[in-house]
Symmetry: C2
Subunit: 317 residues, 2 copies
């Protein structure tokens, strides 16, 4: 079977655990309920946290999808999970045949020429929506799929601590944890630890563990995030990232870059940044001024999606 | 209760039967399943076809919503049905608090600052999605609501003749017709007849019965449509519209305007137009050249959404 008969299910670039696990689980569901050939793909490297999840449940990582540029054989068919912004999608997305979007973020700039299935729910994790779709289609969830979906929810909601977490996410994660036979607290601790174990990584690799681009009118910016249960570790990561940030600013072609170093236990974020208007943007968004040092401490802020992006968009638009 | 505590459910400007009826039915569902105050509104005049439907089922038309511009009291909260393009939405939409979108069109240019519920399904009518939501929430549909939803499906799918019509739309419409106690064929004929009875209307009023704006890159254009079961009537309408079109082009601030005069029985459209590049766009989109007269005959074309917009977008982007 030639490649162009397949339909790829793919998350965002610099994929996180939700983007990988929801792609795998949704491709599996679509294979079961239709006759088409759906395959999960990834739009970048598997990060340490996600690798831990895949190893734990003995599920191979999806193959890399470098681009969905139109070829002589025609358009590539894709379903996007966990994003709906062109800047976060696999290269060539505007030339692809976009069939569906399953997401839980703000409504972004992806447009289509014809009607498609777009399901965006304001829940904590795409995996929670994918689980609902298993239920709606009366499909059982295997131990492996339950493990992946549960991991994605724990990851996206910082083990239910993020304000993005809804009662639905928690309820679903607890059901899934039972099927996956894991103890939520112990498993999440180990998973987050694996995710913040960046000792062997270059600053660039750390940077791209979880980095997303956004546009607000004429301004473009990027926001990365690393979460940890240990504040010390976050300071170390910050020290390694800072020298790389100016280079990233140039290479990513954005006006500003922010990086959230999020302490899961104390529920706060140290925000480092680069770009001329970055300080002004932060100070306007949070109505704070900088005390000392080269970062801002944002008490109570843990969610990029809910506690950072909307404020920045408001300031920049 | 002050206006800003209400949540408005509203369809697109120049509302058609789906935009009015789905707004009424969805506001009713939301009132039942939540504690909030949802109210249906309309973003323009009720057209002849819709008035027939409202009169038949003795349901009052929603109040007019002129604008959702932010006031001193804060943002206006809205749910959009049957559209997801800024150009088709009520004035001030970018300043409103957009809570949900329920639609069945291509993915347009509306963006949000935070995650919202966006449900877009590639079915023939928003009313079909609203009916599914009644079912999902185990809510019974009253005779009146069934009548409105069924009318919207018959209208949008041209009584199941449009290629946008899916088996789901037909199945739902037939269920609803039973609850509403109508004979589908007879009722649809009368409804379409009311819709194309434009004798007392000015050209401007005819024009805005069903007119939508679109943007493709730098180009903006408008597409109107009137459907009828009698071809004669369509020629008469065309003769009355043509002199008004150049004025509409100026006033709407678009580059081209197309108007579809659709014969439901023969399943074809006579396309009239205005704007420098209109002819070139049509000829490139359909790979046809003009034979004679001042319109193009598009055999088999009845759906703006599925058989016109995607082709124009492709040519213009």
């Amino acid at each position: 079977m030639s490649d162009n008969q397949k339909i790829y299910v793919v998350g965002h670039k610099n994929p996180d655990t939700d983007s990988i696990c929801s792609a795998i689980a949704y491709a599996e569901l679509k294979r079961r309920i239709t006759k088409e050939t759906y395959e999960a793909r990834r739009a970048g490297n598997v990060n340490e946290e996600t690798q831990y999840v895949l190893d734990y449940f003995k599920v191979p990582a999806p193959e890399l999808l470098e681009s969905v540029v139109k070829t002589e054989e025609g358009k590539v068919s894709v379903i996007l999970v966990d994003h709906n912004e062109v800047g976060q999608a696999v290269d060539g997305i505007k030339e692809a045949e976009l069939l569906e979007i399953i997401d839980h973020h703000k409504i972004g700039d992806i447009t289509t020429e014809a009607p498609i299935y777009f399901r965006n729910q304001p829940v904590g994790c795409t995996a929670s929506i994918v689980y609902q779709m298993y239920e709606e289609n009366n499909q059982e969830v295997s131990k492996e799929i339950a493990g992946l979906l549960c991991s994605a929810i724990l990851s996206d909601t910082l083990m239910f601590r993020s304000p993005t977490c809804t009662p639905k996410d928690k309820e679903i994660a607890e059901k899934l944890a039972e099927i996956a036979q894991i103890n939520v607290e112990e498993y999440a601790m180990a998973m987050f630890k694996a995710g913040s174990n960046l000792a062997d990584k270059t600053p660039e690799e750390i940077f791209f563990q979880d980095f997303k681009k956004f546009t607000a009118g004429e301004v473009s910016f990027g926001v990365g995030q690393i979460s940890s249960m240990a504040e010390d570790e976050l300071f170390e990561i910050a020290d390694r990232l800072k020298p790389y940030m100016p280079q990233a600013l140039k290479e990513q072609g954005v006006d500003m870059i922010f990086f959230m170093l999020t302490d899961i236990l104390s529920e706060s974020t140290n925000l480092i940044y680069v770009g001329d208007k970055a300080e002004a943007t932060i100070e306007k968004a949070y109505k704070i001024s900088k005390e000392a040092g080269d970062y801002y401490k944002l008490a109570g802020v843990v969610s990029r999606k809910k506690q950072l992006i909307p404020f920045f968009m408001d300031v920049l638009q």
